[in-house]
C-alpha cells in the first residue's frame, strides 16, 4: 500500500527528475519540435512543488487533480493539456482513497493513457508519449498478473518505456509539430515519450528492492 504522504514524496521526486532532465528534454525537442519541452515541464512541476505542502492529508483524487491542474496552467505547451488531463483522469479513478495498491496504480496508468488519447487524439505508433506509456502499462500489467511485487512491476514498466523511447527513433512523427518534418523526424527520439520514461523512473526510484 502507498499512502498519500508517499505519493507526495514521489510527485516531488518526479519534479526533481524533470528539472534535472530539463535541458536534455528541451534539446530533444529542439531537434524535432519547438525547443521547449523540458523548460515547459520544469515550469509545470515547479508550480506542483509549490503546491505540494498544501496537499498533505488530502485523498488521492485531490492530489492527482491538483497536480494535473498545475501542469495545465503552468506548462504552456502541448504537454500541459496532455499530462494535465492524464493526471486529472487518473485522479478521478482513485478519488476518495487515502491509500493505493498495485491494482489502483494499474488503473491510474489506464486512465492516464486514455486521458492522453482523449486530448491528443493519438494512437500508438505516431511517435508520441503514448509509445512509452502503452508498452509500460502492458509490461506492468503482465508483471502484476505474474504475481510480482511493486518494485519489479515498476522496473518492468521502466524497461518497456525505455524500449518504447528507442522505438520512437525508428518511426515518422504523424502528430504534433514534429509531423511537419516527415521523414526528417526519423532517428530522433520523441521528447514526450522520453519525459514519460523519466517520470516513471522517478516513481520506481522511490520503491526499495
Amino acid at each position: 500500500m502507498t499512502d498519500s504522504s508517499k505519493v507526495l514524496d514521489i510527485v516531488g521526486h518526479i519534479g526533481e527528475a524533470i528539472s534535472e532532465n530539463a535541458q536534455f528534454l528541451t534539446d530533444l525537442d529542439a531537434a524535432i519540435g519547438d525547443n521547449d519541452h523540458g523548460v515547459n515541464m520544469a515550469r509545470g512541476f515547479k508550480k506542483v512543488e509549490e503546491d505540494l505542502p498544501g496537499l498533505k492529508d488530502k485523498d488521492m483524487g485531490a492530489i492527482f487533480k491538483k497536480v494535473g491542474m498545475d501542469i495545465v496552467s503552468a506548462v504552456g505547451g502541448s504537454s500541459g493539456p496532455l499530462y494535465g488531463t492524464a493526471f486529472m483522469k487518473a485522479g478521478a479513478a482513485v478519488a476518495g482513497k487515502m491509500e493505493i495498491d498495485l491494482n489502483d496504480f494499474l488503473k491510474i496508468m489506464d486512465e492516464a493513457i486514455s486521458g492522453v488519447q482523449l486530448r491528443g487524439k493519438a494512437e500508438k505508433g505516431e511517435k508520441t508519449m503514448l509509445d512509452a506509456m502503452m508498452p509500460a502499462r502492458d509490461a506492468m500489467r503482465e508483471a502484476a498478473e505474474a504475481g510480482k511485487g511493486i518494485k519489479e512491476v515498476l522496473d518492468a514498466g521502466v524497461k518497456a518505456a525505455e524500449d518504447g523511447v528507442e522505438y520512437t527513433k525508428t518511426i515518422i512523427a504523424t502528430k504534433g509539430r514534429a509531423s511537419y518534418l516527415g521523414e526528417r523526424s526519423i532517428g530522433h527520439q520523441d521528447p514526450g515519450a522520453t519525459s514519460f520514461m523519466v517520470m516513471l523512473k522517478a516513481v520506481a526510484d522511490k520503491y526499495e528492492e
Binding site: V72, G77, G80, G120, R177
Partner: protein
Amino acid sequence: MVGFVLVSHSQKVAEGVRELGLMMAPDVPVEATGGTDDGGLGTSYEKISAAIDRVYSEDGVLVMVDMGSSCMTTEMVIEDRGDPKIIMVDCPFVEGSVAAIVSSSCGSSLQEAKAVAEEAREEKKF
C-alpha cells in the same frame, strides 16, 4: 453580438489577426490571447479563460485556435466552463477568424459565425 477569442502560440500572431478582423468590423468584441503567463511562446489556460470573460455575452463566444497546445488548452477551458454558448471552431486561423468576425458585425448568430469560419477552409486563394 457574438464575441471572439483568438488563441495563438504567439501574442503577436493573435494581435495581428485581431487587427485584420477589426479593420472591417471595429464594433465586434475580439480578444487576442497568445503565449504563456510569463510571455513566452505557448498558451495559458488562465489567459484564455480571462479573455472569454471579457467578450462574453448572451450571444456567445467563438474561440479560434491556431495549433497544438492552443487547441488542447482551449478545449480544456471550454470543457471546464460547460457553457454551450462558449464554443471553438476548427478552421484556418487567419481567414476563418476574419470571416467570422465580419459576419458577427452583420448580425450572425454563434452557430452562423461558426459555419462561416468553417467555410473559410473551402475558399481557394487562387
